[in-house]
C-alpha cells in the first residue's frame, strides 16, 4: 500500500546520523544501540508491512533512567523519537522515520511486584501481554485485555493503542485495567501517575496517556489490575443462514440480561479459512457463525448456554455445538485468534477495525460486501459482535500495486461507512498512519484542536511519534504553534 503520505525526513538530522549514533552509544551503551543497516532493517516496519522506513538508529534500553537520558538528549537535539513495543501495530503506529530514533522497550520485560490480595501487578511495559497472565495464572488470576497478537505484543503497545480483545465485553479494554504508570516525557522528565489503588489523584491523566499512541511519553512501568479467573469457561458455536439472523440473535441475548464473556462473529469466508487452519469443529454449512463463551461452574455454564440456545431458536440456527471440553475450547479460540494468520496463508489482506452500533449490522455487512465487490476484491468478516467492533479482512494481491491500492480505498470507504452509521474509525487497533487522514471524517476542526492541544502539553515540539494520528495538514487549521518540520509531505 502506498498512498498514505509520509513527511520528507529532516535532511539536517539524517546528515548527523553518525554523531547522533555515537552520542546514543555514550548514553545507553554499545550493546543497547543498533546502528548497522541490517540491524536497523529489522525495525523498518510494523504489522502494516506495506510501509517501511529505515530508522536513524534503534536503541533498546534496559532502564527507565536510560530512556530518560535518551529522550532528554533527543529533545535537546531536536531529534524525533518513535517508541516501539513488539512492532505488531496493524495501523502503522510504530512505523519508523529516517530522521527518528526508535526506542524499543522489549528488554524491559520484568514483573516487579505481584499483590494477589490487592489484585494488582507492577510490570515493566516491555513484557508481552500473555506473560502478564502467565505470571499469575498458577494462582488462578489473569490480566483481562487479550488482543489476538497477545503472544507477541507488549503491554507498552497495548497502552499506546488502548488495546482490547475478544473478552472486553465483560472485562473492558486496557484503560479499564490499568491503575498507574511511570512515564518518561520527551524532556526526559519521569512522571508517576496513579498506583496500586483505585482512582489516581487529581485529573484523570491515565485516560489521556493510555491510547495516546506513544505521542505523550514512553511508559516504562505500569500497575495493572488482575482478576481471579472464573471456575470454568466454555464456548458454544451457533451457525446461522444469514448474518442478519446472527446479529438479531446477539441482540436478543443481550436484551435478555445475559452478558457472555465473549461473542465473536465470523462470516462464511472467515469460517472456511479458520477451520482449515485450526480444525476447531466450526460448522461449514452456514453463512454466519457465533462463538459465544460463558463462565462459571459446570452447572452454571450448562444452564446459561441452554438459556441462550432457547433465545436463539426464533432465529433458526442451522447448527449448534457446545464445546466438548478444554481441548476443543482451546481449538475454537485458536481458530478465532489465528484468523489473521490463517487468512495470510491464502491471500494478502488488509485488516480493518471500525466499530458500528450493533443494530446497523445487517446493512453494514451488505454494504461492506458491495464496496469490496465494486473494487473487485473479496472480503472475510470477523468481529467482536458484543461490542460491534468489525474486522473486515480485504483480500488483495500484494504483487499487483493496483489491487493493493484498491484494497486501501475499499478500506477507507468501509471506515467512512462505520462513522456514517454512528460508529468510529477504530475500535482497538488505533489510528497510526493508517487512519490518520480519515480523522476529519469523524472529528471536526474543533474536536481535533482539543486533542492536539493536549499533545502539545505533553510534547510541545511534537517530537514523539510524529506524523501519526492527526492529518498532516491539521496543524494549519488551529491556533497551535508550528510543530512539524516545514518540509512538504511527499508520496511514500
Amino acid at each position: 500500500m502506498t498512498h498514505i503520505r509520509l513527511p520528507e525526513p529532516d535532511r539536517a538530522i539524517v546528515a548527523r546520523r553518525d554523531q547522533i549514533t555515537a552520542d546514543l552509544i555514550a548514553i545507553a551503551g554499545r550493546d543497547a544501540v543498533i546502528s548497522d543497516e541490517d540491524g536497523r532493517r529489522a525495525f523498518e516496519t510494523d504489522a502494516l508491512t506495506s510501509y517501511r522506513r529505515m530508522p536513524l538508529a534503534v536503541v533498546l534500553p534496559e532502564t527507565t533512567e536510560t530512556i530518560a537520558n535518551i529522550l532528554r538528549y533527543c529533545h535537546t537535539q531536536g531529534v524525533k523519537v518513535i517508541a516501539r513495543g513488539a512492532g505488531t501495530s496493524l495501523a502503522g503506529g510504530a512505523l519508523p522515520a529516517e530522521d527518528a530514533v526508535v526506542v524499543g522497550i522489549s528488554k524491559m520485560n520484568r514483573v516487579l511486584d505481584i499483590d494477589l490480595p490487592g489484585r494488582t501487578m507492577r510490570v515493566q511495559t516491555g513484557i508481552t501481554n500473555v506473560s502478564i497472565t502467565a505470571a499469575v495464572a498458577p494462582d488462578g488470576f489473569f490480566y483481562a485485555p487479550d488482543p489476538s497478537s497477545q503472544l507477541a505484543c507488549t503491554l507498552a503497545g497495548n497502552l499506546g493503542m488502548n488495546s482490547g480483545g475478544a473478552h472486553c465485553l465483560k472485562y473492558g479494554v486496557t484503560t479499564n485495567n490499568v491503575l498507574g504508570v511511570r512515564m518518561v516525557l520527551m524532556t526526559g522528565e519521569i512522571v508517576d501517575i496513579g498506583g496500586p489503588y483505585v482512582d489516581a489523584a487529581g485529573l484523570d491523566l491515565l485516560s489521556l496517556v493510555i491510547g495516546s499512541e506513544g505521542q505523550m511519553g514512553i511508559i516504562t512501568e505500569a500497575t495493572v489490575r488482575i482478576i481471579r479467573a472464573a471456575e470454568g469457561a466454555r464456548p458454544m458455536l451457533l451457525g446461522f443462514d444469514s448474518s442478519e439472523a446472527a446479529g438479531r440473535c446477539v441482540s436478543a441475548i443481550i436484551a435478555s440480561g445475559i452478558i457472555p464473556v465473549a461473542i465473536e462473529f465470523m462470516d462464511r469466508p472467515a469460517i472456511e479459512v479458520c477451520e482449515a487452519y485450526a480444525k476447531a469443529g466450526y460448522p461449514l454449512d452456514c453463512e454466519a457463525l457465533l462463538i459465544i463463551e460463558v463462565e462459571g461452574s459446570e452447572t452454571e455454564i450448562t444452564e446459561r448456554l441452554e438459556q441462550m440456545l432457547e433465545l436463539a431458536k426464533p432465529f433458526r440456527p442451522s447448527s449448534h455445538a457446545i464445546s466438548s471440553g478444554p481441548d476443543q475450547s482451546a481449538k475454537i479460540w485458536k481458530g478465532r485468534k489465528s484468523a489473521f494468520g490463517a487468512l495470510g496463508r491464502i491471500a494478502d489482506y488488509y485488516c480493518m477495525d471500525g466499530t458500528i452500533p450493533l443494530g446497523r449490522l445487517p446493512e453494514v455487512l451488505t454494504a461492506i460486501s458491495q464496496i469490496c465487490t465494486s473494487y473487485g476484491l473479496r472480503v472475510a468478516n470477523i468481529f467482536h459482535a458484543g461490542d460491534g467492533n468489525l474486522h473486515p479482512l480485504i483480500m488483495f494481491d500484494a504483487n499487483d500495486p493496483a489491487s493493493e491500492q484498491r484494497a486501501e480505498q475499499a478500506g477507507s470507504d468501509i471506515l467512512a461507512l462505520c462513522v456514517e452509521v454512528g460508529g468510529c474509525l477504530t475500535g482497538e487497533h488505533g489510528v497510526g498512519i493508517e487512519k490518520r487522514d480519515l480523522m476529519a471524517k469523524q472529528f471536526n476542526a474543533d474536536d481535533l484542536r482539543v486533542q492536539m492541544r493536549l499533545k502539545s502539553v505533553f510534547d510541545p515540539g511534537w517530537l514523539l511519534n510524529p506524523a501519526k494520528v492527526f492529518p498532516l495538514d491539521a496543524d494549519q487549521r488551529g491556533d497551535l504553534p508550528a510543530m512539524r518540520s516545514s518540509t512538504l509531505p511527499a508520496a511514500a
Partner: protein, 410 residues
C-alpha cells in the same frame, strides 16, 4: 451579585461561555448542586447551572448504550433503565446527604464530572469506565465531542474519559453517552460481625480472590453501624463486614454456599436476602454510615485510596493521632474516614501517613473555612502539577470554569 445562567441548549451554553470569557468572568459550574459543599470554597461572579440541558436522547437496550443531556437527573436515567431491566453498573454514589446537600438530585453530567462510583466499582469499574462519549464546551467557547456511542472506540485521544473527575474545571459537559448493563436477577449479602479491621479487610480480599464474582465489599468500624437503618445490624455495636453477590438466582444460591465454605475460618455469617441486601447497599450508596445524625457532634470526612494490604495499617496509624471511624469499601482500598473535627481536619497527619503507606486523600466534608485552608484534593507532584496546569490552559486558558475548585489557580 452572582449571575446565574441556565442554558437550555448547547448553543446557549456556548454563548454563555463566550460571554463570560470575553468579559473575563469566572463561573461556578454546577448541575443540581448536591456536591456544592465539596472542593475548595468558591466565590465567583457567575454560576452556570446545567439542569436546563435535560432529556435522554438515545437509549438502545440491546446495544447497552444510553445518551442524556448533561442536566438530566440520575433518577430519570435510572428509572428509564429499570423499565428495561437495566442499570448503571457503577452504582453512582450520592454525596449530597453526607455533605449537607440535597439527596437524590444529581445530574448525569455531574456524575461523570466527579466520577462518583459506588461499591460495585470493584467488579464493574467506576463511572469513568462506563463513559463512552461526551459533547462539551470548553472555556474557549468551543463545542467539541470526544468518544462516541459504541462500546469500543480508540479513535483519537480519550478526551471524554479524561474529563471524568475534573469537577467542571476543564469543560462543561452538554451531553454524555454511557454504557448500561442488565440488572442482576438476585442480590444477596453475607455479613460477618465483630472482625477486626485487618481481619475484615483480609477476608474481603480473600473473597475477591475467589471465582464467585463478588460485587460489593465493605467493612464498617463499630461506631458506624448504629447509623444503619437495617435494625439487626445496627444493634450489634460491633464491626460489620459485608460481601455482596449478584447474579441469576440459581447462581447466587450456589455461589453464596461456596463462598461461605471458602471463608469459614472467619466465622459464620448472617445472610441478607434480596430486600435487606438492597436496603443495606443503598445506605452505603448514600454514605449513611459516615453521615452524622442531626445534633451529633460535627465531624470531617475523608476519602482515602490505598492498596488494600495497607488499608488497616493506614487507619491504625491515623487512629493514633485522632479519633476515627472507617467505612472500608473496595476490599479496603477505598476508605471513607470520619474524623473528629479539627482546624485542618487532620489533613497533615493523614497525608504524612499516606506518604509512607502509599495512596492519596480527598477531604469530602468540612466547613468552608477548613476547605479554604487545607488542600482538599491530594497535592500533586511537581511534574504532574505542570501537566495539570498545561491541560487546564489547553481547555480553559482564561480560567472561566470553576477556577480553584480542585487546586489553586487551576
Amino acid at each position: 451579585m452572582v449571575e446565574t445562567l441556565r442554558p437550555t441548549n448547547e448553543a446557549e451554553l456556548q454563548s454563555a461561555l463566550i460571554g463570560l470569557s470575553q468579559s473575563g468572568l469566572a463561573a461556578e459550574i454546577r448541575g443540581a448542586g448536591s456536591k456544592a459543599a465539596i472542593g475548595r470554597p468558591l466565590q465567583l461572579p457567575a454560576v452556570i447551572e446545567t439542569t436546563g440541558l435535560s432529556g435522554i436522547t438515545l437509549y438502545e437496550p440491546t446495544e447497552l448504550v444510553m445518551s442524556a443531556r448533561a442536566g438530566t437527573s440520575l433518577g430519570e436515567v435510572e428509572s428509564t433503565l429499570a423499565e428495561r431491566g437495566q442499570m448503571l453498573a457503577f452504582e453512582p454514589m450520592d454525596l449530597g446527604p453526607a455533605t449537607g446537600g440535597r439527596g437524590g438530585v444529581q445530574t448525569m453530567g455531574a456524575v461523570f464530572a466527579t466520577n462518583v462510583s459506588g461499591a460495585r466499582r470493584i467488579a464493574a469499574g467506576a463511572a469513568r469506565d462506563h463513559l463512552l462519549g461526551v459533547r462539551a464546551v470548553n472555556g474557549r467557547g468551543e463545542i467539541f465531542k470526544s468518544g462516541g456511542r459504541v462500546l469500543k472506540n480508540v479513535t483519537g485521544y480519550d478526551v471524554a474519559r479524561a474529563l471524568t473527575g475534573s469537577w467542571g474545571t476543564l469543560a462543561v459537559l452538554s451531553e454524555v453517552t454511557f454504557k448500561v448493563l442488565p440488572k442482576p436477577q438476585e442480590t444477596q449479602t453475607l455479613v460477618y460481625v465483630g472482625l477486626s479491621d485487618d481481619v475484615g479487610v483480609e477476608m474481603l480480599c480473600a473473597a475477591m480472590g475467589s471465582p464467585f464474582e463478588i460485587s460489593g465489599t465493605v467493612h464498617l468500624t463499630a461506631g458506624l453501624t448504629s447509623r444503619l437503618e437495617l435494625g439487626r445490624l445496627s444493634r450489634e455495636a460491633a464491626t460489620v463486614t459485608a460481601i455482596r453477590i449478584e447474579n441469576f438466582t440459581s447462581s447466587v444460591a450456589y455461589r453464596i454456599g461456596r463462598l461461605k465454605d471458602a471463608l469459614k475460618i472467619y466465622g459464620t455469617p448472617e445472610l441478607l436476602e434480596q430486600d435487606a441486601s438492597l436496603l443495606f447497599w443503598s445506605e452505603l450508596r448514600r454514605l449513611s454510615p459516615v453521615t452524622p445524625a442531626p445534633g451529633d457532634a460535627p465531624t470531617h470526612l475523608w476519602r482515602i485510596s490505598t492498596a488494600p494490604r495497607q488499608a488497616a495499617k493506614v487507619v491504625d496509624a491515623i487512629r493514633r493521632n485522632m479519633q476515627v471511624e472507617a467505612c472500608y469499601d473496595a476490599s479496603g482500598g477505598l476508605i471513607w474516614l470520619e474524623v473528629t473535627a479539627s482546624a485542618d481536619a487532620g489533613g497533615a497527619d493523614i497525608r504524612r501517613i499516606l506518604s509512607t503507606h502509599g495512596g492519596h486523600a480527598t477531604l469530602i466534608r468540612a466547613e468552608p473555612a477548613v476547605r479554604g485552608s487545607v488542600e482538599v484534593f491530594q497535592p500533586m507532584s511537581a511534574s504532574v502539577e505542570r501537566l495539570t496546569r498545561g491541560i487546564k490552559a489547553a481547555f480553559d486558558p482564561s480560567a472561566v470554569l470553576n477556577p480553584g475548585r480542585m487546586y489553586a489557580g487551576i
